[in-house]
């Protein structure tokens, strides 16, 4: 509003001046719009604090050793923990990472190091479109390809679904990280006689590793919170995971299943599991934010 200028005499006729008029309609309109936009920001941030504080209050008093060592209680009983779901989440996310990290990093190496012409444009486009594919479609895909063909629900099918969701994030962050590595380093490497794969594996990738690790961590944290792709791929189980080819409990599916049961002990566990998921995602987001600010180049 400091720029607000009386509009009545736009070309400085005799009475015109560049004096600010505090209560002109334009100035009031500007003030009203500024207040509205500020209100939009406040309302937008409200859910963040509402969700964080509510989850913390509800989940905090269940954060004890039992939570990480015991199985969920039978309906009606109290106590127990979510140790099996924590292990199951580690299993499914582990499988997903084993698939998506090498796949994504090497695909990004292609995009940034070896590609030319129109293909990289299409691959980047496909990566963006893939990141917009609903998470439940990744689950449907893994169901159609793995659950049906392997004859049952399994941690492997769940991991495959999560891998599809992790892939675009990893490709995109690695691609960006590799492009920041200065061209001189590649020339220097080729100049001392290194071949392409030596240049990439021993020079370019190590130089970009902090940013790549950041992207991978973020993708893993997001994948751990995904529920929709796991409900009918990894399914669920009240017991310890029995193997990678068996139905596997996970934290996120446990929250979903316990969200609607009428038992207090289960609800408390759902809140505690939510708190773990939220803390994990928040911490990795903040850490990655902090890490990407420490630029190497």
């Amino acid at each position: 509003m400091s720029n607000s200028v009386s509009d009545e005499n736009p070309f400085g006729s005799k009475t015109g001046s560049l004096k600010k008029v505090k209560n002109s309609p334009q100035a009031l309109f500007g003030l009203a719009m500024t207040l509205l936009a500020g209100a939009a920001l406040t309302i937008s941030l409200l859910p963040l604090f509402a969700v964080l504080s509510y989850v913390t209050v509800q989940g905090f008093n269940r954060l004890n050793l039992d939570l990480f060592t015991k199985l969920p209680p039978a309906p009606g009983l109290s106590g127990g923990g979510i140790a099996n779901a924590i292990l199951g989440t580690l299993m499914t996310v582990g499988i997903a990472s084993l698939i998506a990290v090498p796949f994504g990093v090497l695909a990004a190496v292609y995009l940034s190091e070896f590609s030319s012409g129109q293909i990289p444009r299409w691959v980047r486009f496909a990566t963006n479109v893939l990141s917009g594919v609903p998470s439940i479609i990744a689950g449907v895909f893994a169901y159609g390809l793995f659950v049906v063909n392997m004859g049952g629900f399994s941690a492997i099918a769940g991991g495959a679904a999560l891998a599809v969701l992790m892939l675009p994030t990893i490709v995109r962050t690695t691609d960006e990280a590799l492009q920041i590595v200065p061209q001189d380093i590649r020339w220097a490497s080729v100049g001392v006689g290194a071949s392409n794969y030596q240049t990439v594996l021993q020079v370019v990738l190590p130089a970009a590793i902090p940013a790549i690790l950041t992207g991978v961590t973020l993708a893993i944290a997001r994948a751990a919170g995904e529920t929709a792709p796991l409900i009918f791929t990894a399914l669920n189980s009240p017991f310890w995971p029995a193997g990678f080819d068996q139905p596997t409990p996970t934290l996120s599916v446990l929250v979903y299943k316990f969200a609607t049961v009428p038992f207090q002990a289960q609800k408390e566990l759902a809140w505690a599991a939510s708190l773990i998921l939220v803390l994990m995602v928040l911490l990795t987001s903040i850490l990655s934010r902090w890490a990407t600010r420490q630029k190497v180049y």
Binding site: M1, A40, V55, Q58, V133, S135, G144, T260
Partner: protein
């Protein structure tokens, strides 16, 4: 290092065949995986379409307009879910577009010092990091009681309007739409802010130099210039709202009845799948795959349009 140099000179040689093929092999490996990212999209589409084939043959395009979903009689129609997906996403956009674009404008102007703005932009991004199922759990505990009270008021005073014609029962289209609105906010805000921030500073300077006020500049110059970017962000938000599953499933009430009232329970394609897939068998799996295919195509169209619009904007100003 000098001695190294010496030996290197004396051992000067060209690469062996094995080294060359290793190098070639590595490039090919990355090429296959790079193109593989695009192939995965195709494989997803083909897998879902293949598994949906029995239902496609059985029901054809009439599936889109049938309003019965009855696994016992093996009658399947996706109209209530398609309707629910569209209406809940529309409610989400009604909430998220004004808030998101307003926030984006506020954060792209210099109302606040830069460090504060950077922190606020990060906080808005954190909204997108909270897992969907946690939004659902929070929605059941906090949002549904609030919205049920609002719904009672709306039904009591505006019950003659078809959209408020039923008494709120807790879960329903409105709470689901509100939570989807919260979840699409960060995308719309981020992309709108990016496109506003990437405008050339000359635009603003020229407008202010002509004597326009800040808000005249925003409405007449900046927002029109960034318009396609903002639309792209809204489309991406729409894509996310249509495919969002867990929060919708926990809040929408999962009723396969068509109802004009936003206070009544409803269903979306994603929440239908989340509810029924694990226990489905036979033709029901194919019917669910068919709904999945519909959702996939809907979000694919929206996302491709959005990506195209956003990439056009980037090309214009970079």
């Amino acid at each position: 290092m000098i001695s190294d140099n010496h030996s290197a000179q004396s051992e000067s040689r060209s690469r062996s065949g094995a080294e060359k093929s290793l190098d070639e092999g590595f490039i090919w490996l990355t090429r296959i995986l790079g193109i593989g990212v695009g192939v995965i999209l195709l494989v997803i589409a083909l897998t879902v379409a293949y598994r949906a084939l029995p239902a496609i043959q059985q029901y054809g395009l009439g599936f889109l307009f049938g309003s019965d979903w009855n696994p016992v009689k093996e009658e399947y129609g996706a109209l209530p879910m398609i309707y629910g997906t569209i209406v809940s996403s529309a409610i989400a956009l009604l909430i998220a577009v004004p808030l998101g674009v307003g926030t984006a404008i506020f954060l792209s102007e210099d109302f606040l010092p830069l460090p504060v703005r950077t922190a606020l932009v990060f906080l808005v991004e954190l909204l997108a990091a909270i897992p969907s199922v946690v939004y659902g759990l929070w929605g059941i505990a906090v949002l549904i009681p609030i919205i049920t009270n609002i719904g009672k008021f709306l039904n009591g005073n505006f019950g003659w309007l078809p959209i408020f014609s039923t008494a709120p029962v807790g879960p329903g289209m409105l709470p689901a739409g509100v939570i989807l609105g919260i979840m699409t906010l960060p995308i719309i805000t981020a992309i709108s802010r990016d496109s506003l921030a990437s405008l050339p500073p000359e635009l603003r300077q020229a407008s202010l130099g002509l004597g326009a006020t800040r808000w005249t500049t925003i409405f007449r110059v900046l927002v029109p210039a960034a318009f396609s970017g903002i639309v792209g962000g809204i489309m991406l938000g729409l894509g996310r709202a249509m495919g969002e599953t867990m929060a919708a499933t926990l809040l929408i009430g999962n009723s396969n009845q068509l109802s004009a009232s936003v206070l009544a329970p409803a269903n979306t394609i994603a929440s239908l799948m989340a509810n029924q897939f694990a226990e489905a068998s036979g033709l029901q799996v194919a019917a669910l795959m068919y709904t999945g295919l519909i959702l996939f195509i809907m979000t694919l169209i929206v996302n491709i349009l959005a990506e195209w619009i956003v990439s056009q904007v980037r090309a214009k100003y970079n």
